[in-house]
């Protein structure tokens, strides 16, 4: 594999350098970057900052769906959501927010409670989700993506996947498989 000579920066240093570059460039650079971001449009990753609805509803949903009540675990899951959601296209993130808004007000709508979803207690939340998931088909779209997201967060934690006897990664990157070494040798030399 041919790789360009003189290319010495590795991925991490590129991230650091590019972030520093953006900060140092100040607002002019920021405006330019924003302009560029707009051009890539909806494939763009969205912000790492959670919206108000995400902040309020994701922890509640996480607890209700996974049964997790440990505040530290929930806090870490929220940090994970902030990173993971930033990798979604902007318009998909907006759809998620809409879904969360709808879910939040549904308990009022179904007259289960005078409180929004995030404010009702955990037991009620679980019962409510259960009912909703078996309710009218029109509500089903709310669940598909949200469930995947919640369990992706939950089973990223070793102590959670160990509970179900899953052993996690077994990879030994850069094992001395001959073809592997030949194929990547030149590139690895440059990148590491």
């Amino acid at each position: 594999m041919d790789v360009p000579s003189g290319f010495k920066l590795n991925r991490r240093s590129f991230f650091i350098l590019s972030s520093l570059g953006v900060i140092a460039g100040g607002s002019a650079c920021g405006i330019k970057l924003y302009g560029q971001l707009l051009e890539v449009n909806e494939q763009l990753v969205s912000s790492r900052k959670l919206s108000q609805y995400e902040k309020e509803n994701l922890p509640a949903l996480y607890s209700a769906m996974t049964g997790e009540t440990d505040p530290q675990q929930i806090k870490e899951a929220v940090e994970f959501f902030a990173i993971f959601l930033s990798k979604l296209p902007l318009s998909r993130r907006k759809e998620l927010n809409l879904g969360l808004k709808v879910l939040d007000i549904l308990p009022l709508f179904f007259m289960v409670s005078f409180l929004p979803f995030r404010k009702i207690d955990l037991k009620q939340q679980v019962v409510f989700l259960q009912k909703l998931s078996q309710g009218p088909a029109v509500l089903y779209p709310l669940f598909g993506g949200l469930k995947e997201l919640m369990y992706l967060a939950y089973y990223r934690v070793p102590q959670n996947y160990q509970k179900i006897e899953y052993y996690g990664p077994v990879a030994k990157p850069n094992e001395p498989i001959e073809e592997h070494q030949r194929f990547y040798k030149a590139l690895m030399a440059e990148l590491s």
Binding site: V40, G168, H180
Partner: protein, 506 residues
């Protein structure tokens, strides 16, 4: 030479002079179709440029963690769904495309399917001859019994006990460590895929591969494309690093069954008969699980090494259109499909080590459609027809029977309201007919959206893969197939890449 976004970050003017971006052939997409078309054209002496929107990932980048790999390997972080949200549609990205994370199983398209296309220049004999060559290059071999994991053993046992037709599947692997993480990319570089076999051939023949580079618009006039605009994009921030304007004598669309349509629609390519994005087939499927008394550990070892073909026939009169294959999934994949929440869901997940899974996959007659959702995302309209639902019910029913025959204590079918069966006597095929959205489905084979045909009013390309209404645009990916294949498509897509790559004018 393979370039990544890092090269462009270092030097955004890397390809500044227009002569540097003037090629004989420019291929968009480096998956099974694109990599093979590019390698074939390069070996014939063409100066080839291969563009890939995803990253060039090394085995050490593949962490075997779902939450890490989904955003790197799949469009929309693996969360892409049909417009009605009923089907999760997984579509890969990265140098090597969907072959990076696929399960490696290899089957040829049946002769009767190819014959039904009635393409004068692409006969079944010719197609199979190409597939045979590809199979040799990819080291395709039947998985031996000794290498079956417990899940596939149970599946085989149940199938044989019922006297159903079944056999071991062939895969493209070499040096496989049997880690079971195929769907998250192979950290052991054991997949004989587009990245390992055809991308190096492109490079060896002086081709240029640009990763993290998204083709945005074809610019065309009359019957010719004169330029392709593209952007190098940072994989984390998605910020544009630089623009590229690419010229080539021929362009090849190989972005896969969804993305190739989006690029065509974004570019407003001539489409007088409104064929772009129509006739979508997905091969949708789902997974059911049997609970056994012993540990199964379905995620461990080589996945999907056995098939049951008792309910799949390519003779249309038989109306058997469901293929059964062993399932395999890592925790969040299983958890997302199982119904229930909180403690109830956790109790089901506790059974994960004892679960064996079978997936019914449809040779679908349903036709869907791809449209743009905004500028770069896809709206996938697809509503399973009544006859396909009946086939699915049959597949679910038979998969349950097989699991019981293999010794399952209970079987779960993940309808929204979980269906639990404790003995085969409780099973009724009609109970398993899914109403709209009653069962969560997954599709990993989008195809037929820019299909080949001799009649321009009902197809997009001719039987050479050349766009009917433009002289220098070709298609080489899953979107070309005129019908559903009914089998996993990768061998046929590599073959179509070889076919088209061999026809491009130099």
């Amino acid at each position: 030479m393979i370039y990544t976004f890092e090269h462009f970050l270092k030097n955004p003017k890397l390809f500044d002079s227009s002569s540097q971006l003037d090629f004989d052939v420019c291929v968009v997409g480096s998956g099974a179709g694109g990599a093979t078309a590019a390698a074939t054209a390069a070996a014939r002496g063409a100066r080839v440029l291969l563009l890939e929107a995803g990253s060039f990932l090394l085995p050490s980048d593949l962490t075997q963690r779902e939450e890490d790999m989904y955003p790197k390997l799949f469009y929309e972080a693996g969360g892409r769904r049909t417009a009605n949200r009923a089907i999760r549609v997984m579509h890969g990205m990265g140098v090597g495309g969907s072959t990076l994370h696929n399960i490696n199983l290899c089957k040829r398209t049946p002769k009767s399917i190819i014959d039904s296309w009635q393409l004068p220049h692409l006969t079944s004999e010719k197609f199979h001859q190409i597939s045979e060559d590809i199979e040799k290059e990819l080291n395709v071999a039947i998985i031996l019994d000794k290498d079956f994991n417990e899940n596939n053993w149970l599946f085989k046992t149940g199938t044989e006990r019922l006297g159903y037709k079944g056999s071991a599947l062939a895969h493209n692997r070499k040096g496989c460590a049997q880690s079971g993480f195929c769907e998250l990319g192979c950290s052991f570089n054991a997949k004989m895929n587009a990245l390992r076999i055809y991308i190096p051939q492109v490079v060896q023949h002086n081709g240029v591969v640009l990763s993290n580079t998204q083709a945005l618009h074809f610019r065309w006039a009359g019957r010719r494309i004169f330029e392709l605009t593209a952007q190098v994009i940072h994989p984390e921030t998605r910020a544009k690093i630089c623009d590229l304007n690419i010229k080539a004598k021929s362009f090849v669309l190989s972005g896969g069954g969804i993305e190739s349509v989006l690029l065509s629609q974004r570019s407003s390519l001539p489409d007088p008969y409104r064929q772009l994005g129509k006739h979508l087939h997905l091969h949708p499927g789902t997974g059911i699980c049997g609970i056994f008394s012993q540990d199964v550990l379905m995620w461990k070892g080589i996945p999907q090494s056995y098939e049951c073909t008792e309910f799949l026939s390519f003779d249309e009169k038989e109306d058997k259109r469901v293929w059964l294959v062993g399932g395999s999934a890592h925790p969040s994949g299983v958890a997302g499909m199982l119904p229930g929440f909180g403690q109830e869901h956790a109790a089901l997940m506790k059974l994960y080590p004892k679960m064996a899974s079978i997936s019914p996959m449809l040779h679908d007659h349903t036709e869907g459609q791809i449209d743009m959702d905004g500028k770069l995302l896809a709206k996938i309209s697809y509503n399973l027809s009544d006859s396909d639902r009946k086939q699915l019910a049959r597949g679910l029913f038979q998969a349950c029977k097989i699991l019981f025959a293999a010794g399952a204590e209970k079987v779960y079918v993940p309808f929204r309201k979980l269906k639990e069966f404790k003995s085969p006597d409780q099973l009724q095929e009609s109970d398993l007919y899914p109403d709209n959205m009653e069962i969560d489905m997954v599709a990993v084979h989008p195809m037929s959206t820019l299909r080949m045909g001799v009649d321009p009013t009902s197809s997009v390309t001719d039987d050479y893969g050349r766009y009917h209404h433009l002289d220098n645009l070709w298609v080489a990916d899953s979107s070309l197939f005129p019908t559903s294949l009914g089998v996993p498509p990768q061998i046929s897509i590599y073959s179509i890449g070889r076919y088209v790559g061999g026809l491009l004018p130099l």
